[in-house]
């Protein structure tokens, strides 16, 4: 309603400031900051072990941050437990899908809408999700663990969408999937974005991530290595070097 007046900072739905986190005694993130703007697709790329997954886990709360702040829609949610963040509209589609493998597709989706807020719109949401992934409607009674990799990723995304998220965070969308499947999934993400969903995407496939995103961050060694508009980044020879050692 007051579109014109919002400045860039308050436009961020999710903002991470000076995030520090790690496992045991090992620090992985060293004061990392990034923003995901409303209605935009923000990408995070970076080599293996750079700290991408750790960032997302610290944001979602499955890993407790050591320092820094996580702001969701203007509220400090750094110490909010993971399940309560989900209820506030932060949905993480974790690396490797992490489905409830022994449960049916329908049950997975139902659990996606576990929070009381999402449960109210369950039927409506389910219809939307099945419209988005017709394949899942066909397979609704099948055990999630018996689906193909691409179908599993669909369930994972759909489960995230069922929570009626403000922001959908996806970790390694293309992991282990054939290019054609990745292409379909990314096309779906694009439709979601056009419908106004805020998306934060972590992706190894630099070309696809950059092609789709509105803004991108490159992480290295637990810090932001560089950031910018995708066009600026693709033109950057540093990224090619970091990935292929050419």
């Amino acid at each position: 309603m007051i579109d014109a007046k919002v400045d860039a900072a308050s436009d961020a739905l999710l903002s991470v400031e000076g995030l520090e986190a790690g496992y045991g005694e090992v620090q992985v993130l060293w004061g990392l900051s990034l923003k995901a703007r409303r209605g935009k697709l923000t990408a995070i790329v970076g080599a293996n072990g750079a700290g991408k997954t750790t960032t997302l886990r610290a944001v979602a709360g499955t890993l407790t941050p050591w320092g820094g702040r996580v702001m969701l829609d203007g509220e400090d949610v750094t110490r909010v437990p993971s399940h309560a963040k989900a209820a506030r509209g932060l949905a993480l589609v974790p690396e490797g899908r992490q489905l409830f493998a022994a449960m049916s597709v329908a049950e997975n989706l139902e659990l996606g809408a576990f929070s009381p807020r999402a449960a109210r719109f369950y039927a409506e949401r389910l219809e939307q999700v099945f419209a988005l992934f017709p394949r899942l409607a066909e397979r609704r009674r099948q055990r999630a663990g018996t689906l193909s990799g691409g179908e599993q990723q669909m369930v994972a995304i759909a489960r995230g969408l069922m929570s009626d998220p403000q922001i959908l965070i996806i970790d390694e969308l293309s992991l282990g999937l054939a290019p054609v499947v990745v292409y379909q999934l990314l096309a779906t993400l694009k439709r979601l974005k056009q419908n106004g969903l805020t998306i934060l995407l972590v992706e190894q496939n630099v070309h696809l991530a950059l092609a789709l995103s509105d803004y991108a961050y490159v992480i290295a060694e637990g810090r932001i290595f560089t950031e910018g508009l995708p066009a600026q980044l693709t033109a950057n020879p540093e990224i090619r070097r970091a990935y292929l050692g050419l």
Partner: protein
């Protein structure tokens, strides 16, 4: 054939997933062979097949002329194959020296305890852990634990060393140091099979590269050749054509700034 390690049509399934599919390659004695491929391509599974954590569903693995297919890990270790783990597996409450001594005691030489301790000290010194011999492994930093993995493997005095992402998680100085150590190990006559995601490092270290994708061999050759291979570029960076196509699909702006050739 003077191959030290030979894989002959090795296949391993997990449920419906073909983790390693009909894979064959051979390693010469004294070379460094780099193994690269996207996440989930089957690299770590391959290590687990070679050192006996998993048995292959089909195919043969021959080491120094002996068929070691399906042997248990401790038997494989005795033949002279040692490895490091991507996720470090220190014997947490034991000291650095004891960790290395285990490697020396039960490795290829099957040394008695007192001689094993000497070998362990030497291995720890080689990777630069000789100042922390009596520290419990759990108190090491991640870089220290990675070095410990390597020291423990070296203490076994292996003929073949499997290195699984020893550089991941290290800072540039540590990486430089580790690369120097790996070179020194090779110069001492050890054959090395290395998985690594840091491309610059693996391209400069390896004599040859094998590229895996979906459990199959995508390419094999000298680093420079492999890096030029369009299939390899696609597997790593994704298909530029698909990306372009996707971008073309974009009807109504929203991310016009993403334009690129």
């Amino acid at each position: 054939m003077t191959a030290l390690l030979e894989l002959d049509r090795v296949t391993r399934r997990f449920g419906g997933l073909l983790a390693v599919n009909n894979l064959s390659f051979a390693m010469r004695e004294g070379e460094i062979l780099g193994l690269i491929g996207p996440n989930g391509a089957g690299k770590s599974t391959l290590f687990n097949l070679i050192n006996g954590v998993f048995a292959p569903n089909a195919g043969r693995i021959v080491f120094a002329g002996v068929d070691i297919t399906g042997e248990r890990p401790f038997m494989v270790a005795r033949h002279g194959i040692a490895r490091t783990h991507q996720i470090v597996q220190p014997l947490t409450n034991m000291t650095v020296l004891d960790n290395c001594t285990v490697g020396a005691c039960f490795g290829r030489e099957n040394l008695p305890l007192h001689r094993a301790t000497e070998a362990a000290r030497a291995a720890a010194a080689l990777v630069g852990l000789d100042d922390r011999l009596h520290l419990a492994a759990l108190h090491l930093t991640i870089a220290g634990k990675k070095r410990l993995e390597l020291a423990r493997a070296l203490a076994a005095q292996p003929k073949l060393l499997l290195l699984d992402e020893v550089l991941a998680g290290l800072n540039p100085t540590e990486i430089e140091h580790m690369i120097a150590v790996i070179r020194r190990i090779r110069d001492s006559g050890v054959t090395i099979l290395i998985i690594e995601h840091l491309m610059q490092a693996i391209m400069s270290l390896s004599d040859r590269i094998v590229v895996l994708n979906y459990g199959e061999k995508l390419a094999e050759g000298a680093p420079a050749e492999v890096a030029r291979d369009p299939q390899v570029i696609e597997a790593y960076l994704g298909d530029p054509k698909l990306a372009a196509e996707l971008e073309g699909n974009d009807g109504n702006g929203g991310h016009g700034s993403a334009a690129h050739d």
